[in-house]
Point group: none
Chain length 414, copies 2
C-alpha cells in the first residue's frame, strides 16, 4: 500500500517553521507497512492546495492521503473548503462538533469561543468527524475515487494525536514494505560500529538491507526487507537478536525506545535515586530525564547552577577551585556530581559544566569544551568533550553524551 | 517570482532522515524575494522523480526549480537520467568534471576513485556544470520551457554550498514576493486575536495578505504582499507599525525573535536577575531561558524540585502546606517563586508546579492542572491553567505559558 502526505501552510513552504508532521507520518506509515510515495508542502492558497491534492489523487498507486493543516478558525484556513469543492460536496455545520469546541474552549480559557471558531465546526457532507482531544479543529475521514483521505490539524501535537485513529483505519496488505525496529547504540561512533559489525553485515541474506544513521551521538542501525511477509519478519527478528547478542555492549534500545527511557528502566528496577547538577545545559538534562512518564520514581531533583555563586552556595564548590581551575574543569564537574548526590541524599549524582558559546571561551578553554561526571557511593567518573556546534547544538550534544555516560555507568555498575 | 523545490530520496519520504535541504532553500529563497510555492519529496524511483518534476514544470507560476539528491555514484541514483529524458537530451561524459572528481578523491583518500564514480561525470547535453568544492557530484543548471532548473547534491552541506551559486543566478524581478517580519503575540488565543484585529484586517489594502499561526500558546501574525517593490515594502512597514500601536498589549516580537529573547532583553536592560523553581517542567523552563546567548547575564540559577522532599529541603516549602494544599497548588507555586527569588538573592522569581501526566491525578486535581507564579520585591502573581495534552505537551505548554506570564509581568512592572 502506498500513501501521499500533503502539508498545508505558507509557514512551511517559506521555511518559517520546520516540518514536523510529514516527518512524523512518514515514519509511522512505514512502521505500519505503508510506503509514503509523495510528500508535498503547499501554501495557504486555495488553488495550490487543490493542485497538490489533485496530484496525489491522480496517482494510481496512492491509496491513502493524509492532509494536515489549514483547519484553523481564521480567514487564511482553506483546507476544508478546497476538499469540499474538489469532492463536489457542501460544507455543513456540525452541532456536536461545535459543542465539543465550546467545551474545549471553556476548559482552557473559561469563556465562550469567539464567533470565528464556528468555522471549525463546518464539515464536508459525508465526511466522518474524528474528534480532537487536544484542540478545537476536528479531524476528518473521507472516501474519494477509491482512496481514503484523512484530514488533521497542522499543530504537530494534534496531528500526532490523530495517528492512532488513522492507524486503526489503515489495513496494509501482504505486499507491503516492512522494516524492523531500529537498534540504537550509544558511546560508539558510526564508522567504529560499522567496522565492528563487518562480519555480520557480510553474512546478511539477500533482500535484507541495512543502514546506519548517526543521531546526535547515538548510532541507529536498522535492518529492513524490501519484501515482507511472515517468513521475512521472522528472519529479521532473528537477525536483530543476533546483533543484540554479538554487539550488545553499546546497545541501549532493548531497555527502552530512548536513552532517557533506558536509564529510567535501570534506575527504577534497582530502586536508585538520581540527582543532577547542570550548568551549560541550563536544565535540558533534567527536562529530558523527566520526559519519561513516572520519572518521579527515580529523579529526585536538579540544580541548575548557572552562575559561579550558585555553584558555591547550592553545592559548596570551593571558591578557590573555581578561581584556580575554573568553572569548566574536571574538578568542578566531579564536585557537582558528588555534591548533588550528597545534598539530595540520592544514590547517583551527575554533573555537567561547559562552554556552550558563542561567548565565554578563554585562551586555554575553547567554545564547546565540556566536562561531565557521574558519581555513586564508591566512585566518580569524569569525561571531557570538545563539541563543535553552535550554542543549541552544544547544549544538545552535552545532554546526549551525559545520558550515554550515565547509561554506561549504570550498566557497568552491575 | 515563484519557485518549486524537489528533494529526491527514499530516506526522506520514509522519514529515515529529516529534511534539511528544502527547509534551507525555502528560507534562502524567501530572503531573496522568491516565493517557494511547492515543496515535494519523492523516492529514488525514476517514475516518481519524473512525475514530481513534471508537476513543477507544469505550474505556470513556477519560474525556478531546485532539485536536490539522487546524484550519487550508486545504482539507486537516477536524477540526471530522469531529467535528461524529460528534456529529450543525451547524457554525455564530461572530461573536466571527471578530472575534478579524481582530484577530489585523491585529496581525500589518496587513491583513484572507483569505476562507479564515472557516473557522476555524466552531464545532460546543454547543461551548465556547477563545480562542487565539497564533494564529487557536480551541480547543474538548465533551462527548460522558460524555467531555470538547478540540480544539487542531497548531502546538506553540499546542497547549502550551492546556494551562493544559485543566488547569483536568480534575479527576482519587480513581481517578486516579499514578506515582512512576523508579529508574535503571547497571552491571547488565535481566535481572540483575530476577533480583536477584525477592523484592521478589513482595512488591509488589496494584495496584502495575512496569516495567523498558533504556535504552542503563542500566536504569530504575519503580513505579506504578493507583489513587492519599494513602495509595497514601505506600506508593509507602516502596517506592522499600525499593528504594534493598536494591538501591542500582547506583542513580544519587537523585543526579540523568541519569547525567551524578549524576556532576556528586558532583564538585561533593567539589570535584573532571575531565579526559577520548576517541578513538572523538570528543567525545560531553564533550558529555554538558557537557549539565549548571554543568558548568564541575567539567569542566576534554577531549582528542579521534582520531589516533595526537594521542595522542603531546597526552598523551605512547609511540609504542612504540601500536606494540606498539595504540591500542585496556588500556595506552593507562590512559595516556589518567592523562595527561589530570596534564596538566590535574585530580583525576579518564578515557580511552576503541575501534573504533567499520564499519572499523578487525584479526585480534585486532574492531569494537566498547573499553577505558576512570578514574584518580585513587591508582589507575587499566580495563575492556574488546565492543559489537556500528553506529558510532553503539558510540559511544553507549561513552559510556554510561564514565559508568557513572565514577559507580561516584566512589561507590566514598568
Amino acid at each position: 500500500m502506498k500513501a501521499g502526505i500533503l502539508c498545508v501552510g505558507t509557514e512551511l513552504v517559506t521555511g518559517l517553521i520546520r516540518d514536523a508532521n510529514a516527518y512524523f507520518f512518514s515514519q509511522r506509515l512505514v512502521e505500519k507497512g505503508v510506503f509514503p510515495k509523495f510528500v508535498m508542502f503547499v501554501p495557504d492558497e486555495k488553488e495550490d492546495i487543490a493542485n497538490g491534492l489533485t496530484f496525489l489523487l491522480d496517482d494510481p498507486e496512492v491509496e491513502v492521503i493524509i492532509v494536515s493543516g489549514g483547519l484553523g478558525p481564521t480567514e487564511d484556513d482553506f483546507t476544508k473548503e478546497v476538499i469540499a469543492e474538489l469532492l463536489g460536496r457542501k460544507l455543513v455545520f456540525d452541532e456536536l462538533t461545535w459543542k465539543k469546541i465550546c467545551q474545549f474552549y471553556w476548559n482552557l480559557r473559561k469563556t465562550e469561543p469567539p464567533e470565528n471558531n464556528k468555522k471549525q465546526a463546518l464539515i464536508p457532507e459525508g465526511a466522518t468527524v474524528l474528534p480532537n482531544e487536544l484542540g478545537t479543529a476536528p479531524g476528518l475521514k473521507m472516501e474519494m475515487r477509491g482512496k481514503t483521505i484523512f484530514v488533521v490539524p497542522g499543530v504537530p501535537r494534534e496531528a500526532e494525536f490523530f495517528w492512532s485513529v488513522i492507524a486503526g483505519e489503515i489495513h496494509a496488505g501482504g505486499s507491503s514494505f516492512y522494516r524492523t525496529k531500529i537498534l540504537k547504540f550509544c558511546g560508539i561512533g558510526e564508522s567504529q560500529l560499522a567496522t565492528l559489525m563487518k562480519p555480520f553485515l557480510a553474512s546478511l541474506p539477500e533482500k535484507v538491507r541495512f543502514a546506519f544513521l548517526p543521531n546526535y551521538g547515538e548510532v541507529w542501525f536498522y535492518l529492513y526487507a524490501s519484501e515482507a511477509g511472515h517468513q521475512r519478519r521472522e528472519e529479521l527478528d532473528r537477525l536483530v537478536e543476533e546483533v543484540a547478542n554479538i554487539y550488545g555492549d553499546f546497545l541501549f534500545s532493548p531497555y527502552g525506545d530512548t536513552l532517557e527511557e533506558a536509564i529510567g528502566k535501570i534506575l527504577r528496577e534497582r530502586r536508585l535515586k538520581l540527582a543532577i547538577a547542570e550548568s551549560c545545559t541550563g536544565g535540558l538534562l533534567g527536562d529530558r530525564i523527566t520526559n519519561v512518564p513516572g520519572s518521579s520514581d527515580y529523579f529526585e531533583r536538579g540544580y541548575v547552577v548557572y552562575s559561579n555563586r550558585a555553584k558555591v552556595e547550592e553545592l559548596g564548590v570551593p571558591k578557590e577551585i573555581l578561581e584556580v581551575k575554573g568553572a569548566v574543569s574536571e574538578e568542578v564537574a566531579c564536585l557537582m556530581a558528588q555534591r548533588a548526590r550528597e545534598k539530595a541524599a540520592a544514590d547517583i549524582g551527575m554533573g555537567i559544566t561547559g562552554i556552550a558559546g558563542p561567548t565565554g571561551a578563554t585562551d586555554t578553554k575553547p567554545l564547546g569544551l565540556t566536562y561531565m561526571a557521574v558519581a555513586d557511593e564508591r566512585r566518580v567518573e569524569v569525561k571531557k568533550y570538545q563539541f563543535g556546534g553552535d550554542r543549541l547544538m552544544n547544549k544538545r550534544f552535552a545532554s546526549q553524551f551525559a545520558l550515554s555516560m550515565l547509561f554506561l555507568f549504570l550498566r557497568g555498575r552491575g
